[in-house]
Amino acid sequence: MGRIALEKVNKVFGDVEVIPPLDLTIDDGEFVVFVGPSGCGKSTLLRMIAGLEDLTAGAIQIDGEDVTEVPPSKRGLAMVFQSYALYPHMSVRKNIAFPMRMAGVDEATQNAKIDAAAKSLNLTDYLDRKPGQLSGGQRQRVAIGRAIVREPAAFLFDEPLSNLDAALRVGMRLEIMELHKKLETTMIYVTHDQVEAMTMADKIVVLQAGVIEQVGSPLELYHAPRNKFVAGFIGSPKMNLIEGPEAAKHDATTIGIRPEHLTVSKTKGTWKGRVGVAEHLGSDTFIHVHDTGLMDMMTVRISGDIEARHGDTIYLTPSADQIHRFDAQGLRIA
């Protein structure tokens, strides 16, 4: 079981309130992603759940039990760090065995679990090596192995893939998702990368300056961002946000239109602009459009490969039912 409830959780460092009082419930078995720009307090929040950081005020419950004053190892949670945090002086086997040794698990059980974890993580051949002799991806697997054998109530990941190169990152992302499907254990995953959030999460928690901007499924956030910040943060390329008279036509202070909800034409359309740079991905083309008079640079995403030469005049038309409207406070107008 791993139902985690935060009640009015608050963190102040010196005289900076990094996390203003915050409520959040994470259901058993959920894959929850905390996402937000760097420095918004994601790690701090995760570390408070882990017990590595004291709460200034508020309470944390795990499965109905108040653990606010419980030390990290007694909370039944396992954490995977960005830096892997393996014990450099111990072999892979000893690293994975470590939490079990601390818990007084007998040696036969330890070995059985190490072998099972090593097999599922492709580490069998490396059990006698030291962490220093492994690649980044392998180290991260060892860190995950060390977490798995504890059979925790929940896994906590703090940007676990940030130190890996792009190709490996995609692979490890899938492995972690597979792991979640297999174990059905609660996972809390911190990242600043909204693509990771969108692809992995059952539930995304968008944070900015320690404040929860929105909680919802990836598609909820995509289709109905609660405010301008979430609208701009979720989705890639970013949503185009337009202010001024064009927005006023829609009875809004700001309107937003995602790049994929614009169609282009060489001859006619709602808005006119000039092609800047076109990025050809093969499957898609991103065209950056200047001089629309609406905003600095508008981005359009067209399926497939189309020709767009620098300086060409181009017409853009938004799908009417895909326009997001925001009021003067930046909040979504239903």
Binding site: L52, P72, S73, M79, Q82, A85, H89, P99, R146
Partner: protein
């Protein structure tokens, strides 16, 4: 690249010559001392006879028979070893706390500790003597051990602190998640990972204790007197007997030179404050 090639030709010869030169200059007094210790007091005062003399062990025999060398040596061992251990027992937790759970005041505390080294020892000599006598601990091992420990604590904590700082905080926190209490963190992570640093710190502290003279000479008479006191006692009332003095000095610095010789690598690491990794 070209610069490296040019300088390397020069440095291949110049550096070794310079290094040997400097080393010999530093080594010469020690060499002289050892040589003198095998001379009679009469031969010793004639510098023109640097090499021409009849070697004698008389000074060493005299030292062990009349001056009770072994008692002083035993006191030196007892106080230096105990003080070093005590310093580590206090210093390791201290440095651990400051490295991994720093508070706002940590930087200031470190500076304050270092600043105590700036106080001239002479300024607190008489208070210390009155205090020791008042407490009835003058000329005891306990007093010498405490004083040596207090003298060395600042530098020991600084050194340990810099070594511990090199250990990523995440590893300690992973240990916390995996079930370690504070003592467990020290035992399972800190000591294994900082072993080299702790050893070189201990070595340096031991050498400082062994060589300490200002306090050990002034706070002891007989019972807790160390080798420093023995040397000091030999420049005594009858005048200077260089042969005897040299023998005593040689016997006093001998153990530490041998120790230092075998632990060179550790020492260099210790003295460069972990810069060499």
């Amino acid at each position: 690249m070209a610069i490296v090639a040019e300088t390397s030709k020069f440095s291949r010869f110049a550096w070794p010559v310079l290094a040997w030169g400097v080393a010999l200059i530093f080594f010469f007094p020690i060499f002289w001392m050892v040589l003198t210790s095998f001379k009679t007091d009469a031969d010793a005062v004639k510098p023109e006879f640097l090499f021409s003399f009849t070697p004698t062990l008389e000074n060493y025999a005299n030292m062990t028979q009349n001056y009770d060398y072994w008692r002083f040596a035993t006191n030196s061992v007892i106080t230096s070893v105990s003080a070093t251990l005590l310093t580590l027992v206090v210093g390791v937790p201290c440095a651990y706390a400051m490295a991994f759970n720093p508070s706002r005041g940590t930087k200031d505390i470190l500076m304050w500790m270092l600043s105590t080294k700036m106080l001239p020892a002479a300024a607190v000599l008489y208070p210390m003597i009155f205090l020791a006598k008042g407490l009835g601990i003058y000329d005891t091992h306990f007093l010498v051990i405490m004083v040596l420990c207090l003298i060395n604590l600042p530098i020991v904590i600084w050194m340990l602190f810099t070594y511990f700082k090199d250990i990523p905080k995440d590893i300690i926190e992973a240990g916390k998640m995996d079930g370690l209490n504070t003592w467990g963190e020290v035992r399972e992570i800190l000591i294994p990972l900082a072993w080299g640093g702790i050893a070189s710190t201990a070595l340096l502290a031991f050498i400082f204790c062994w060589n300490e003279a200002y306090w050990t000479v002034r706070l002891t008479t007989i019972d807790a007197a160390t080798l420093s006191k023995l040397i000091e006692g030999n420049r005594a009332p009858e005048g200077l007997f260089f042969g005897r003095l040299s023998a005593v000095s040689t016997a006093a610095v001998g153990p530490i030179v041998v120790l230092g010789w075998f632990c060179q690598k550790q020492l260099v690491q210790g003295l460069t404050f972990g810069a060499v990794k």
